[in-house]
Symmetry: C2
Subunit: 178 residues, 2 copies
C-alpha cells in the first residue's frame, strides 16, 4: 500500500485543519475535508482524531501557540518604560490590518468555545496566558480588563465592519489603566 510510518502524519492533519477552518470556517470542517487538504485517506483522520472536537482542540491549541509566538517576536510587551496603551493599540492595529483570514481563524476557534465545552479549557488558557503576560506591566484586575476590552474592540471591528480606529483604541485602553 501507500506511504507508511509517517511520524508527522498527525501534525500534518492539524495543519490541514487550520487551513480548512481559515478558508471555509468551522462549518466547512469535516473528516473528509481535512483528509483531502492533508492529502491523507479518510481513515487516517478518524484514526488520529476520533471526533472533530478532538481535532478542533488540537487546532485551537496550535493556533494559540502561533499567536503567542507573534506577540513574543514583537517586543513581547516587556519594556516597562513604554506606554502600554499605545503599545497595545498599535499591536492590535497591526494584527487587524494584516491577513484577515488569520484573524478570523483565531477568533472563530476562540468563539467556538461558546457552544463546545471541549474548547473552553483551551480558550480559558489562552485568555489567562495573555492576562499573565500583561501582569508584568500592571495589576491583575487591570490585565483582565484589558483583555476584555481588546476582545470587545476586535469584535466590533470584525462583526460590524467598522474600520479600526487606533486613536480611539489608545484612548479607551488608557482609561482602563490606572
Amino acid at each position: 500500500m501507500g506511504r507508511r510510518y509517517d511520524p508527522e502524519r498527525r501534525q500534518r492533519i492539524i495543519d490541514a485543519a487550520i487551513r480548512v477552518v481559515g478558508e471555509k470556517g468551522i462549518a466547512g470542517l469535516s473528516h473528509r475535508t481535512v483528509a483531502a487538504e492533508a492529502d491523507v485517506p479518510l481513515g487516517s483522520t478518524t484514526y488520529h482524531f476520533k471526533t472533530l472536537d478532538d481535532l478542533l482542540v488540537a487546532a485551537l491549541r496550535q493556533a494559540n501557540e502561533g499567536f503567542a509566538k507573534v506577540i513574543a517576536s514583537r517586543g513581547g510587551l516587556e519594556d516597562p518604560g513604554a506606554d502600554l496603551a499605545v503599545e497595545l493599540a498599535g499591536w492590535m492595529g497591526e494584527w487587524l490590518a494584516g491577513d484577515r483570514t488569520g484573524v478570523e481563524l483565531e477568533y472563530e476557534l476562540y468563539l467556538a468555545a461558546l457552544r463546545r465545552p471541549a474548547l473552553r479549557p483551551v480558550a480559558a488558557e489562552w485568555a489567562r496566558d495573555l492576562a499573565d503576560r500583561l501582569s508584568c506591566r500592571t495589576d491583575a484586575v487591570t490585565a483582565r480588563a484589558l483583555v476584555a476590552l481588546l476582545d470587545g474592540i476586535c469584535l466590533q471591528v470584525l462583526l460590524t465592519e467598522v474600520p479600526y480606529d487606533e486613536e480611539y483604541a489608545r484612548e479607551v485602553l488608557a482609561r482602563v489603566i490606572p
Copy 2:
C-alpha cells in the same frame, strides 16, 4: 390539502428557528429541523426563506428586538442621576445569572456574523442601537467603549466559565467613564 392561508406561518418559522438555535446551536439549524419544530412541511420553510442565512437574519433581528425590550422594561438606563457603571454591572449580572440558553442564543447569533457577511449589518445595527442608548448618559466615544467592554466581559464569562464578578465589572466600567 392541509392548512392553508396561515398568515403567521412565516413568524412561526422564525420562532421555531430561535428555539432550535437555542437548543442545538446554529450547527443544528436546517430547513428540516425548523420545519419539524414549527410543525410545517419542509417546502414551507424553503418557500419563505430561500437560504438559511435569510432565516438567520430574521432570527437575529427578532432576538435583538426582544433584548431591546428587556432593557427598556428594566428602567431603560435613562435615569441621569444613577451611577451608570453600577447600573450596567448589575444589569449584566442579572442577564448572565438568568437563563443560560437565552444568553448563549443571543451571543451565538451575534458572533455568527464573523463568518456570515449577511448577518453583519444586523450585528452592526444592534451594537449601534446599544451605543445610542448609552449616549443619553455619556459621550459617543465612551458609549462605544462601554459596549466593547461589556461584550468582552460577557465573553470571558461565557467562554472560560469564570464566574461573573460584579464588583470587578463595576470597577473597570467606572474607569472607562470619564
